[in-house]
């Protein structure tokens, strides 16, 4: 097992380096330098001043030198300083936003798991029943719904017309004056729509996947054996079949992390939530290279970690993986 984990960890290194190389190349090869953006509107800025700015940011060096400089700093967990006027360290900017995005994504992952798995099992066990047909319909419509559009509509209905839920930010204006439970309730009310919506797409996907797995497992010979032994149907389904059908779900959850992180840009801009997505969007628009690179790196690390955890837990329960 230790050997397996070590092997997986070593494999992550080239992938991680590949991600940084591609991100760096894409950013720096795009036309238009950040310093041009900052100085474009000011005719007073001379060419020398622009060159000086480039030198300050290290943008005057050849690309590969810039990359290795950046990588050297990264090894010491130094992501550089933001190009924006606050000039703060990138890791500081990201770290104050990471918890918000992680929190929302973890909540929606939990919601996806808790809702999608039972739906998938039930619709597989009662295949072609009314429930199965209804959930199949829900799944296809869910897949097809542009979530930001649904967000707009829900905001309009629950936020504006019915006035039940707040529609922007994470805290009310009077948040500081609330007691502990008041704060929890307030935060919860702000989180309902964002969490529900970011879980929405994954919900459809995972329940479909779970259904497929379950149907496949039920076909297997060992299920036939279990039935032939005269085990009650409940035991056959919920003990023998379910365990095997649940396995691949772990991997799918790991793979869904990049999508969730990517989706955070949309949700955070709709609901005005100060998270990673919002920071990323602003940084891209302002060509704040260090922040953009930092975010891409963090996003990749989260994805790699998710995949690693998924693979390890898979290996823990399925010895065949370890041997390979």
């Amino acid at each position: 097992m230790a050997a397996y984990i070590l092997k997986r960890l070593l494999l992550m290194i080239p992938i991680f380096l590949g991600i940084t190389v591609i991100s760096f190349a894409v950013l720096h090869l795009a036309p238009g330098a950040p310093t041009e953006m900052q100085t474009m509107m000011q005719p007073k800025v001379s060419l020398e001043a622009r060159a000086r700015l480039n030198a300050i940011y290290g943008l005057d060096k050849p690309l590969h030198i810039q990359y290795f400089d950046w990588l050297k700093r990264l090894v010491r967990f130094d992501f550089g300083r933001s190009f924006s006027s606050d000039n703060r360290p990138v890791q500081e900017k990201i770290m104050e936003r990471l918890p918000v995005t992680l929190f929302i994504n973890i909540l929606s992952l939990v919601l996806i798991l808790v809702v999608a798995v039972p739906i998938g099992i039930l619709s597989a066990v009662h295949r072609y029943s009314l429930f199965d047909k209804a959930t199949t319909l829900f799944v296809f419509v869910g897949f097809a719904t542009p979530t930001f559009w649904l967000a707009l509509l829900l905001m309009l209905v629950f936020g504006v017309h019915l006035d039940w839920l707040p529609i922007s930010g994470l805290k009310s204006l009077n948040y500081e004056y609330l007691g502990f439970w008041g704060k929890v309730v307030d935060l919860g009310r702000h989180l309902i729509l964002p969490v529900l919506l970011s879980a929405f797409g994954g919900l459809a996907g995972l329940s479909r996947y779970m259904r497929g797995n379950m149907l496949e497992v039920i076909r297997q010979d060992y299920i036939l054996t279990a039935r032939a032994k005269g085990l009650p149907e409940k035991v056959v389904i919920y003990k023998h079949a379910l365990r095997n059908a649940l396995l691949p779900v772990v991997t799918v959850l790991g793979l869904s992390i990049p999508g969730l992180i990517g989706g955070s840009v949309i949700f955070e801009s709709i609901f005005a939530i100060p998270g990673m997505g919002q920071l990323f969007y602003g940084a891209v628009m302002a060509r704040d290279y260090p922040v953009v690179m930092g975010e891409l790196v963090i996003g990749a690390v989260l994805t790699l970690t998710g995949n690693l955890v998924a693979d390890i837990s898979y290996a823990l329960v399925d010895p065949r993986i370890r041997v390979r």
């Binding site: 509509l153 497929g212 969007y281």
Partner: protein, 284 residues
């Protein structure tokens, strides 16, 4: 021979009710897009300041926008753009994915290792972040958007075709072609790839839907297809600030996206089941 293969496919496909519904939706969308000049009641960019933000009525079945333009006409014309984005993006993804997947699967060895590592790297990107960054940096033109969506969406197809090829390349007819002295390129493109295309076609159908959704998400952030060219994404986005007074502006383009994506997904599902009965109820 081909004829019976297709008949066989059709016989299974038409029993798949959802797939059939999807095919009909997709067909109607094509027809409407092709006939846009005839069908759209108004010029989609005709500005009529006398009828601003009018609710749906007999003259304007889906209402008008902030500039008095007819929403129905804009959605019909926008459908052309959205479908084009979907098809071109998937076309690009298919070319890259099939080429890399075929080369990796056929040659194996270190070529395979390098390509598949590259696939792993691309799969670890939060793709939407990457698309967002590239489109914003390159300035959001429709071509940039199609190329970027295509260039970040080929990994699944590469994996599919590689897996197919690994199972096909040792079969007798491939060995026969090799014994007859066919070149590698000929064996790959004439003998192997056509037999490995089925799952790729399914992935492509689903990919069109995904590309349309991605474009609309980019539009939502203001960096999709740029106005005045109407795409469903940017019509929806243009309406979001007036949503409290004019819900129809954002509601209908969203519905158009939903129905289209639904159509392609159902069609893809139908094709998958019809191509390979063993994949029935397959993993989705």
């Amino acid at each position: 021979m081909k004829r019976t293969l297709f008949r066989d496919f059709w016989r299974r496909f038409k029993r798949h009710r959802l797939g059939l519904i999807g095919a009909i939706i997709v067909f109607i969308l094509f027809a409407v897009s092709l006939a846009a000049p005839v069908l759209s009641p108004y010029d989609p960019s005709y500005i009529d300041i006398k009828s601003i933000l009018e609710p749906p009525s007999y003259e304007h079945p889906l209402g008008t926008d902030q500039l008095g333009r007819d929403v129905l006409s804009r959605i019909i014309w926008g459908g052309r753009i959205s479908l084009m984005v979907g098809f071109v993006a998937v076309g690009i993804a298919m070319v890259i994915g099939v080429f890399l997947g075929a080369v990796a699967g056929y040659y194996g060895g270190y070529v395979d290792t390098i390509i598949m590592r590259f696939v792993d790297i691309m799969l670890c990107f939060p793709t939407f972040f990457l698309i967002l960054a590239v489109v914003a940096l390159l300035e959001p033109s429709i071509w940039n958007i199609m190329v970027v969506i295509g260039a970040t969406g080929w990994m699944g197809m590469a994996r599919l075709i590689r897996a197919e090829i690994l199972s096909i390349k040792e079969r007798d007819y491939v060995l026969a072609a090799r014994a007859l002295g066919s070149s590698h390129a000929r064996i790959i493109w004439r003998h192997i790839v056509p037999n490995a295309m089925a799952p790729v076609l399914v992935a492509a159908t689903l990919g069109v839907a995904a590309a349309i959704l991605t474009e609309s998400a980019l539009s939502f952030l203001g960096i999709g297809v740029q106005p005045p060219t109407p795409s469903w994404g940017n019509i929806l986005t243009a309406g979001k600030d007036s949503i409290e007074v004019a819900w129809w502006l954002s509601f209908y383009p969203g519905m158009a996206i939903l129905i289209t994506v639904l159509g392609y997904n159902l069609l893809g599902e139908g094709i998958r089941d019809a191509i390979d009965p063993w994949l029935r109820e397959g993993r989705g």
